[in-house]
Amino acid sequence: MTNIPMDAALVCASLLFVTGLAGVLARRNIIVVLLSIEIMLNAAGLAFIAAGSRWARPDGQIMFLFILAAAAAEGAVGLALVLRQNHSAKTIDIDAAGSMKG
């Protein structure tokens, strides 16, 4: 098994993160925005794993497990919000949330 260089892994993680960020900023469908956030979280997880393998320590992988847990929680809360918004505004357009501005 050949070692993947850390630089390559970090570049891959950055690309993933930028993809996710672009999705969050550009898309209006809340489901897609949540998907993009998951992509950003995974990019962060990938960076942790790459760093962990570079120094041959388990910390990076443990951190990734935490990120997974956070992502699951975030997904649960996010989907609940989507349900509420769909119930009240009859749409899943994220810009409709602006109507809550006081």
Binding site: L21, V24, L25, A26, R28, I94, D95, A97, G98, S99, M100, K101
Partner: protein, 631 residues
């Protein structure tokens, strides 16, 4: 027995605390029982102590009770202690008897008012503070009581706190007396600094040892104390607050603004007489202020339409007599006049209160008339009070005290003919203005119909006060001299030095004793002619342009208010208006304005658009990371 002197003071304070805490939760009858009871019990206890004082007087006719050390910071070693001697005994007895009767009266007359418990709480607090003031053996404790009664006066003038006029009057009273209080406090500082003690008697003894007669220090100190006394006792030129203070309920006017608090200045000078005797110039000033006040206030009283304002000006004028007596060194005459005045003036106020209440809160004497038949109690008691006020010879107590003062002014080495003339003119004026009210209100055509019946709790105090207003002179001067040896002069002689008298030929003396009764009877006859028999004379005078101006001049209290508005109030308002446009204010306001515009700019970013927020977070993270990497 004297060891329980503190109970006299503690009872009114306990009554105040009880009413302040539970007053809102208990029935009106219970409020009255606590409010009247606390002071009445205190009066009974003071009577016991007074009897004991007369039967077996303590050594040197004085008893000092040290309670605790209050401010032990050298050189200011203030000790919370009370001193009972002839002067303070007379003061507490008069204060407590008059206060109990007035509280009994107000338990009925205030019954329909809002804030019944608040009224009794303040009144008890006042009585407590007044007792602290007169019993204090330490000038700082005296000052505590002095400010305490000032506070109660403020609270009670503004008792009807929803009425703007009452609030204005209460603030005016507080601010004007404050001018005197500041002078008094500076006087205390001078005493502490130069004599090293605040004990009244220690300070007086040291002063007479350290300072020769007429040296600048006692002059300065007594001048400052005199200013404090002028403010509290409403003498010229600080008298402007007292007529307005009549905005308070009538029992308050009777107790605080006639019988007790306004006498605090007289008491202060009598208490510190040793210091005043060291500065003959200030004594002369006291006499002149008294003479000027009694004439000015007498003229003002002659023109008032409001029955309570007549009584207020007459109070100012009568305190002027006391100042005159103090100024010529006749201290016991001043205290005697205080005692008699407390009884007849509170009687007049309470009777006026009955009249006002039965005429539907009408204060204007020209709208009343012919109330003699409908209000017999008020008529007879008001008549007795007026007789005493105008010093009707032989039958009234006021005659003895005023005659004593007028005679002392002539015969004292510090008095002179001019002061005597002022005092006699004042006696004539007093008779005219007091009987003017009697004739206008109780005689003549009936104008207002009154229906209100007065109960026992109103009539009993009126009867007792009438008894004192007539009889106090006999009781204190004539009877005990024959039976027990003069009560009054005996216990006061231990406190005051006898006034230095000139030799008055017996013929002149008899003549002098005849002129005062002549002045008072003459005044009554003038009032009868002018206001009952031939009212046309007064009306013609009032139509005359000069008479009109004179009438307004005296009606508005000799234009002192206008003078002060012109000299102090308007320049002050102008100065504050000018300071508003101060350049410094511009810079201070610039800070506020920049904060406000920044707030407006930042609130523009709160669009409610979630994706813009996300972009903002991302941008912020990038910037922070860039800063972290680059620096």
């Amino acid at each position: 027995m004297f060891g329980f002197l503190w109970i006299v003071i503690a009872l009114p304070f306990a009554g105040f605390l009880a009413l302040a805490i539970f007053g809102g939760r208990i029935k009106k009858s219970a409020v009255a029982q606590v409010g009247v009871g606390a002071t009445a019990l205190s009066a009974l206890w003071a009577l016991c102590i007074g009897t004991r004082f007369l039967i077996s007087p303590p050594a040197g006719y004085e008893y000092t009770q040290v309670l605790w050390s209050w401010v032990p910071v050298a050189p200011l070693m203030s000790v919370f202690s009370f001193r009972l001697d002839g002067l303070s005994l007379i003061m507490i007895l008069v204060i407590l008897i008059v206060a109990s009767l007035i509280l009994l009266y107000s338990s009925e007359s205030m019954a329909h008012e809002e804030g019944y418990a608040r009224f009794f709480a303040y009144m008890n607090l006042f009585v407590g503070c007044m007792l602290v003031l007169v019993l204090a053996n330490d000038l700082l404790v005296l000052y505590l009581g002095w400010e305490g009664v000032g506070l109660c006066s403020y609270l009670l003038i503004g008792f009807h706190y929803k009425d703007p006029a009452s609030i204005r009057a209460s603030k005016k009273a507080f601010i004007v007396t404050r001018i005197g209080d500041v002078a008094f406090m500076i006087g205390l500082f001078l005493i502490v600094k130069n004599l090293g003690t605040l004990q009244v008697f220690g300070a007086l003894q040291k002063a007479s040892l350290l300072w020769p007669v007429g040296s600048p220090f006692p002059c300065a100190v007594s001048l400052l104390l005199l200013t404090g006394a002028i403010g509290k006792s409403a003498q010229v030129p600080l008298q402007v607050w007292l007529p307005d203070a009549m905005a308070g309920p009538t029992p308050v006017s009777a107790l605080i603004h006639a019988a007790t608090m306004v006498i605090a200045g007289v008491y202060l000078i009598a208490r510190m007489h040793g210091l005043f005797l060291l500065s003959p110039a200030v004594m002369g000033m006291t006499a002149c202020i008294g003479a000027a006040t009694l004439l000015a206030a007498g003229c003002a009283a002659l023109m008032q339409r409001d029955i309570k304002r007549v009584l207020a000006y007459s109070t100012i004028s009568q305190i002027g007599y006391m100042f005159l007596a103090l100024g010529v060194g006749a201290f016991s005459a001043a205290i005697f006049h205080f005692l008699v005045h407390a009884f007849f003036k509170s009687l007049l106020f309470l009777a006026a209160g009955v009249v006002i209440q039965s005429c539907n809160e009408e204060h204007d004497i020209f709208k009343m008339g012919g109330l003699r038949q409908t209000l017999p109690w008020a008529f007879w008691t008001f008549l007795i009070g007026s007789c005493s006020l105008s010093a009707l010879p032989l039958v009234s107590a006021g005659f003895y005290s005023k005659d004593l003062i007028i005679f002392s002014v002539w015969s004292s080495t510090m008095g002179n003919g001019w002061l005597w003339l002022c005092a006699e003119a004042g006696a004539l004026l007093t008779a005219v203005y007091s009987f003017r009210v009697v004739f206008i209100v109780f005689f003549g055509a009936r104008r207002l119909i009154s229906l209100k019946k007065t109960g026992l709790r109103t009539n009993l105090p009126l009867a007792i006060l009438s008894f004192f207003a007539l009889g106090a002179g006999f009781i204190l001067l004539s009877v005990p001299q024959a039976v027990t040896g003069s009560f009054f002069s005996n216990i006061l002689n231990a406190v005051f030095p006898a006034p230095a008298l000139k030799n008055v030929a017996p013929g002149v003396s008899t003549l002098l004793h005849l002129i005062s009764p002549a002045a008072s009877i003459g005044g009554i006859i003038i009032a009868w002619v002018l206001f009952l028999k031939k009212p046309r004379i007064v009306q013609d005078l009032a139509q005359n342009p000069a008479g009109k101006i004179l009438h307004t001049f005296f009606l508005e209290g000799l234009w002192f208010d206008r003078l002060y508005a012109f000299l102090f109030v308007r320049p002050f308002v102008w100065a504050t208006g000018y300071m508003r446009r101060d350049p410094l204010v511009f810079y201070v306001k610039a800070i506020a304005r920049s904060a406000e515009s920044l707030h407006k700019a930042l609130s523009l970013t709160q669009t409610g658009n979630v994706r813009w927020y996300a972009a903002g977070i991302a941008l912020g993270a990038v910037i922070i990371m860039a800063i972290g990497v680059l620096l």
